[in-house]
Structures are given as C-alpha cells and as structure tokens.
C-alpha cells in the first residue's frame, strides 16, 4: 500500500483505436495498489466514456491529443484528462434522465450519467486553452479495505 503519491502519465492521439491502450494504462497503474476492482472499473468506464465523447464531439474524429495523469494517493485515486478541444464542463451538467430515451429503445446521454454516478467526484478546470477533467474515486472505508487487501 503506497503512502506516497504515485503519478503515471500517458499521452496518446484521441482515436478510438487507443481506447484499449488507455484502459491498460489504468489497469497497470492501479495494479497492486489496494484499490478494489470496483473502483478501478469505475475509473476505466469513466475515462473511456469521457474519451469517447472527446473523440466524437470535441475533436470530431480528427485526432488531437489527450494526456492522462494517474495520481494515486491511497485512499484516493484520480485521473486527469487534458485535451485541447472546446471548453466543456461536465461538472455543470445535471445527471441526465435517460428513461424516456430508453423506453423508445434509444441510447445517448448514458456516458455522462455513468461518469457522474460511478465517480466519487469529478472536477473541471480550463487552463492555458486546455480542458482538465479529473475523475476521482475514493475508498469509503480504507482501513477495512486495507485489511481485506492484505489478507
């Protein structure tokens, strides 16, 4: 269990073909760090959803870069995604009601709903012409989880 902060970085072209690589980066960075699968999975889903939106809506499938910074300081793990797309503050969005669309057999808006529900916190900053979206998960009962993890 690391007491110090561990930081890893990944910079890739925002293309669909790199989504698997992004998830591998999260898996590798969080392996054996005491975070349960549920929390690792929450970050993988949130970052994938965010990058899918970025690729499609912000970069319009034309590429552009996304830089990921994984910052682990047990009992919290956070991933910041930096991009150069137009400003988009996810934290100002309400959790969408997808029920009506689903009744019609339609998807859409599920990504934002998933991110906001799975992460314990989401932060947004616009700095130097770049978006910094940070997805955070926290252990709710770190002592207990630590014990379970060490057994």
């Amino acid at each position: 269990m690391p007491d110090k902060t561990e930081i890893s970085r990944l910079k890739v072209t925002a293309k669909e073909r790199n989504l698997g690589l992004i998830r591998k980066f999260i898996d590798a960075g969080m392996k054996n760090t005491g975070f349960p699968r549920k929390k690792i999975s929450a970050l993988k889903v949130a970052v994938t959803e965010h990058c899918e939106n970025l690729i499609r809506h912000a970069y319009k499938n034309k590429g552009g870069k996304v830089e990921l910074k994984l910052d682990l300081k047990y009992p919290a793990a956070k991933i910041t995604a930096l991009d150069s797309g137009p400003g988009f503050d996810l934290t100002r969005k309400k959790i969408p009601d997808t029920s009506l669309r689903l009744k019609k057999g339609l998807g859409g808006k599920m990504g934002i709903k998933t991110i906001l529900a799975l992460c314990d916190a989401v932060e947004y900053k616009r700095m130097n012409g770049r978006n910094a979206n940070t997805f955070i998960v926290r252990m709710k009962n770190p002592g207990k989880e630590k014990y379970k993890w060490q057994r």
Binding site: E16, R17, L19, G20, R23, R37, K38, S41, K44, V45, T48, E49, E52, I55, R56, T98, S99, L102, K103, G105, L106, G107, G108, M110, G111, K113, T114, A117, L118
Partner: protein, 115 residues
Amino acid sequence: MVLEIKQKEDGKIIVVELYGELDSSSVAAFSLRFREISGKHGPVKYVLDLKALEFISSAGWTAFLNEFKQLKASGGDLKLAAIQPDAKRVYELVGINGVIESYETVKEAVKSYAR
C-alpha cells in the same frame, strides 16, 4: 483487446457469445456481425452471452438497444445473459434493465423464452 463474436444454437434460440471489449472502436464490428447472424436466422429469439465480455461502454449498450429495438419491431426478441458485475452496475444504473431482460446464465435466459 479485439472483440470476438461466436454463434451457436440452443433449439430455436440463437446464442451469440461476445469475447473481449466492446466500446466505440469495436461497436461497428459487433453490429455488422450481429446483423449477419440475424439476417441469416431472421427475427427469432436471441440471447447475448456476455460471460467473456470484459468491458462495455455506453456505445456497446446503445448497440444492444438498437438490435433489441429492431428485433422487437420485426417480431423477434433479445435477452442478455451472464453480465459481468462491473457491467451489471452500469446496466442497472442507466436503466437498461427496464428495457432488455437479463439472466445470470445462458441456460436461464433460454429457459425464460419457454415461459
């Protein structure tokens, strides 16, 4: 990881097995392959076996909804089986559980069509 899709038949029910990861990079391959299968068998009863599906994003769930909607409109049906726990959390969270039925095992999903 590449998405792999296999198909088998359990009586009159078509079971489609998904292996790997389903996100926006693999969703076109899923839809193409599923439509090949449904084009061959027609609007009958289908089960998607998700036991070996390691990851799914909203792009994947949307593809399932599209296929479900198309099948229902033409008299067929689609059910899900063996959703992995992390995916099941999202399935319930976004409310897909109110649209497409899911079962713990393929056997249970197949059996549910007999009811």
